[in-house]
């Protein structure tokens, strides 16, 4: 049977003496040769051979003879089954807020770049950086080189970091996003991060305008100055630089068929392996012009995992009976996101120096700032449901935890 000679553990197209030995070893195994032949003749194995046809290029399994693959079915009719009720028109309108790239579904409202600037500073800059430029670990919204090559492809998107130190492709609204309506609906539904759905449509238009302006987007040839006012009609006219940078084409009546055709040719379009069994040469490697494959080891190991690695089976360390105070719980829910570190510019809880300078203002002033908001911090940290007494207990907790 298969015998592994350590000298024969080699890879690459360089022919070595031991290859012949291994080749013989493998050919003597009947299962290997069988499956190798199967793969070469393109013949599917298993009980579902020939049942191709799913849009993803895979198999559609039949529901027949009381079976769906290995699962037994109840084949009684469900005709006439009817639970739930018809939603009212108001109910549908309340939830039917999605919008298409052509503007269908966008709400009324408007906002200027200048208004967006103020809103951005107050609600977004702490995560997305000044002017959308990133730098705080959250997605960068603006910036990046939008210049295109002769085929209309944004040049920097071709960046491939094959060696350390090479430039990454930048995926900002201006260089990567295909549709501007996505920006509006996403801001409206999912932002600001800690308080989604808290802004008005006018504010959402203003923020969308600001981010588009930071990306140098023109609408109908018009530059978006501070005074530029964005609304549904104008938003639908935006053509982002990377609008044509995506495939297959999903628009129009042929959209699903295009997708299906794309995934039918998976080897070409998304890459596929070859089921070679013996003395295999890696086609990708040959294409890259390499003579012998290399073994690449971990250069810099990502080892800061939480909890730390361990496969030991022992009793867990005795945990102290810590009951978390109500104030700490409220802090965790409403304040911790920004105050757990200084990366968003807020004084970090536990940073003694930072809080010495905060408390210099006197407790009453600190409390007033917490209730009214200060700098990038919205009133009550953005949680309107907190009472003034609750804010007071949170501030006391934060100060006590930073001594």
């Amino acid at each position: 049977m298969f015998k592994l000679d350590h000298k024969s553990i080699l890879i690459g197209i360089s022919v070595v003496a031991s290859t012949a030995l291994l080749l013989t070893g493998c050919l003597s195994s009947p299962s290997s040769t069988n499956s190798s032949a199967k793969a070469q003749s393109n013949e599917l194995t298993g009980p579902y051979a020939g049942k191709l046809g799913a849009i993803d290029g895979g198999v559609i399994y039949p529901r027949e003879n009381g079976m769906y693959t290995a699962y037994v079915l109840n084949e009684q009719s469900t005709e006439g089954i009817n639970h739930g009720r018809t939603p009212t028109e108001n109910e549908i309108n309340a939830w039917n807020l999605d919008a298409l790239p052509d503007g269908t579904g966008l709400p009324e409202g408007e906002g200027s770049v200048e208004e967006g600037d103020e809103l951005y500073e107050a609600n977004c800059a702490s995560c997305h950086g000044d002017f959308g430029g990133g730098g705080h670990g959250y997605p960068q919204l603006a910036g990046g080189n939008q210049e295109k090559d002769e085929n209309g492809i944004v040049k920097t998107l071709k960046n491939q970091r094959l060696e350390p130190g090479m430039d990454a492709p930048q995926r900002t609204v201006g260089t990567f996003w295909p549709k501007a309506t996505t920006l509006f609906t996403y801001i409206r539904d999912a932002m600001p991060y800690a308080h989604p759905k808290s802004l008005s449509n006018d504010e959402n238009y203003a923020l969308t305008a600001y981010i588009l302006a930071q990306n140098g987007i023109k609408i109908d040839g018009e530059k978006m100055t501070d005074e530029y006012v964005l609304n549904a009609e104008k938003l639908a006219k935006v053509v982002l630089p990377n609008n044509d940078g995506f495939y297959p084409n999903i628009d129009g009546p042929e959209g699903p068929a295009n997708v299906k055709a794309f995934f039918a040719d998976r080897a070409k379009n998304i890459g596929a392996g070859v089921r070679c069994m013996t003395d295999c040469k890696d086609p990708g490697m040959e294409a890259a012009g390499a003579k012998e494959a290399e073994l690449v080891r971990i250069d810099y190991e990502m080892a800061d995992v939480v909890p730390p690695y361990s496969t030991v089976r022992d009793l867990p360390p005795e945990s102290e009976d810590v009951t978390i105070s109500k104030a700490e719980k409220m802090y965790n829910e409403s304040c911790k996101l920004c105050h757990s570190s200084d990366r968003m510019g807020a004084p970090a809880v536990g940073d003694v120096q930072a809080w010495v300078s905060v408390t210099k203002k006197g407790f009453d002033q600190v409390l007033r700032n917490s209730i009214d908001g200060i700098g990038g911090m919205p009133p009550k940290g953005g949680n309107d449901s907190l009472t003034s007494d609750e804010v007071k207990s949170i501030v006391e907790f934060m100060i006590d935890s930073s001594k």
Partner: protein
């Protein structure tokens, strides 16, 4: 051959030299300087395992009698807990290290509200992931939905729009399917080279469970889908209002609305009380905390199918609507967390692993001991189901020699798992998503296992 790039030591080595032993000493030295903590971890593991080995391998009088046999145990001489001491059962306290893990790399700036936690694949058996260990990806934290206030609306291009409470939804006839769920970012840290020395972090953005719910087609048959409906918008109710566009063809094939996971309600991390289930497709498409399904003619271009979850290729253009998680496999034993440091030459040991494909059913798995030059087919074992984890197994006589272990899966759509180079040729290294290249474990002469890549 060791390259020096920007002062950093890149460990690109000719495989033939390593296996011949020429570079082995140098290799171990590099490893010590780059991953001291891992070495300590292995030492600890090795000493624990050695105790177990002694008790198994002592047939004669060579070893002292095992105290665990010679003396009564504490648990055998005392009254245990009352039978319902834990009304909701918990794992043994000794299993406290079998947990999901995360890393700052899996988040924005270490903020764990939009982050990923990885399943401990090295500790899982069979094909079912316990609910508490299911991998989790959130975009705006784990939402806690009040089931009494939960509503699901289905509307758009249907004759009869409908709104359902949770109890009404659960009155529809249910089907159960064992299906894997995989984040399309699984393995994304490894496009440019190996980074994590851990099975949990190399492939842990996936799990497999039995999901129960109603086929969407069963509901649609009564609502009356209009013939011009080509796409379905699925929208979540969490803070990120996660939404994705799904082709109607998939909806009518095997899509489900599910409310149960391994026999109990979905866990909040998996979308309690209701999520969309698109068998075999990106877990991101299987929208959690599901709120609304709307049928339409044109795709929506939601944020998570444009700015994210699109595959940027070396051409500068990006693949969109990339649905299925492709054919894939990984050897789970041995692995970096479960090395062979306690084996003796001549020991017979099982090599075990997982294979899966979002396109269908696993038909074959091959393994290689020499980094992909020669392969042999191995046995599948247990249930072999479509779009589910499938276990494979091979009995191996340990020789104490260096190995480059790989597995390669094939499915019934004739998809063959690609090499790192084959995938790189088509996609490049900036695709982020849908990486299914063959993984390599280097087993060194000591039986330690390291995550490496064979590439050019």
């Amino acid at each position: 051959m060791i390259k020096d790039t920007q002062g950093k030591r890149m460990m690109h080595l000719k495989i033939s030299k390593i296996i011949k032993g020429e570079d082995v000493d140098k290799t171990f030295k590099s490893e010590e300087t780059t991953s001291v903590s891992r070495r300590d971890f292995f030492k600890r593991t090795a000493s624990v395992s050695a105790v177990a080995a002694v008790s198994i391998l002592a047939p004669g009088a060579l070893f002292a009698d095992d105290i665990n046999i010679m003396e009564h145990t504490k648990w055998g001489t005392t009254l245990g807990d009352e039978c319902n001491y834990n009304p909701y059962g918990l794992p043994s306290k000794y299993e406290h290290n079998v947990v999901r893990r995360t890393s700052a790399l899996m988040s924005s700036a270490g903020d764990m509200h939009a982050a990923i936690s990885m399943s401990p694949l090295h500790e899982l058996s069979g094909i079912i992931t316990p609910n508490g260990l299911h991998f989790t990806r959130t975009h705006n934290g784990v939402a806690h939905v009040d089931p009494n206030k939960y509503r699901l609306m289905i509307h758009g291009l249907v004759d009869k729009p409908i709104v359902l409470t949770l109890e009404q939804l659960k009155k529809y006839p249910s089907e159960s399917r064992i299906l894997f769920l995989e984040c399309p970012s699984n393995g994304a840290a490894e496009w440019k080279g190996p980074q994590f020395n851990s099975l949990q972090f190399v492939k842990g953005m996936m799990s497999c469970a039995e999901w129960t719910g109603v086929r969407i087609k069963t509901i649609l048959d009564e609502l009356g889908l209009k013939p011009n409906a080509r796409w379905m918008l699925a929208e979540g109710s969490d803070g990120s209002e996660m939404s994705r566009t799904v082709p109607v063809e998939k909806v009518l094939d095997d899509a489900m609305i599910v409310w149960a996971q391994n026999g109990e309600a979905l866990r909040p991390e998996q979308g309690y009380p209701v999520r969309l289930m698109l068998p075999g497709w990106e877990a991101n498409l299987c929208v959690k905390w599901l709120k609304r399904l709307k049928f339409g003619e044109e795709p929506w271009y939601a944020k998570e199918e444009t700015s994210k979850y699109t595959v940027l290729t070396a051409s500068g253009r990006s693949i969109q609507h990339f649905y299925a998680n492709e054919v894939n496999s990984i050897i789970t034993s041995p692995c970096p967390e479960k090395p062979w440091t306690d084996l003796k030459v001549g020991d017979l040991v099982e090599i075990e692993g997982l294979a899966w494909s979002g396109h269908g059913t696993i038909t074959n798995v091959d393994i290689s001991f020499d980094g992909g030059k020669n392969w042999r087919e191995v046995s599948l074992k247990g249930l072999v189901l479509p779009k589910a984890w499938t276990r494979f197994s091979y009995m191996y006589k340990y020789e104490g020699k260096p190995l480059l272990l790989q597995s390669r899966a094939v499915d019934d759509s004739n998809n063959v798992q690609p090499t790192v180079n084959q995938e790189k040729e088509v996609v490049g290294v900036e695709g982020v998503y849908h990486r299914n290249a063959i993984c390599t474990w280097e087993v060194n002469a000591k039986g330690e296992v390291n995550n490496v890549q064979v590439r050019s």
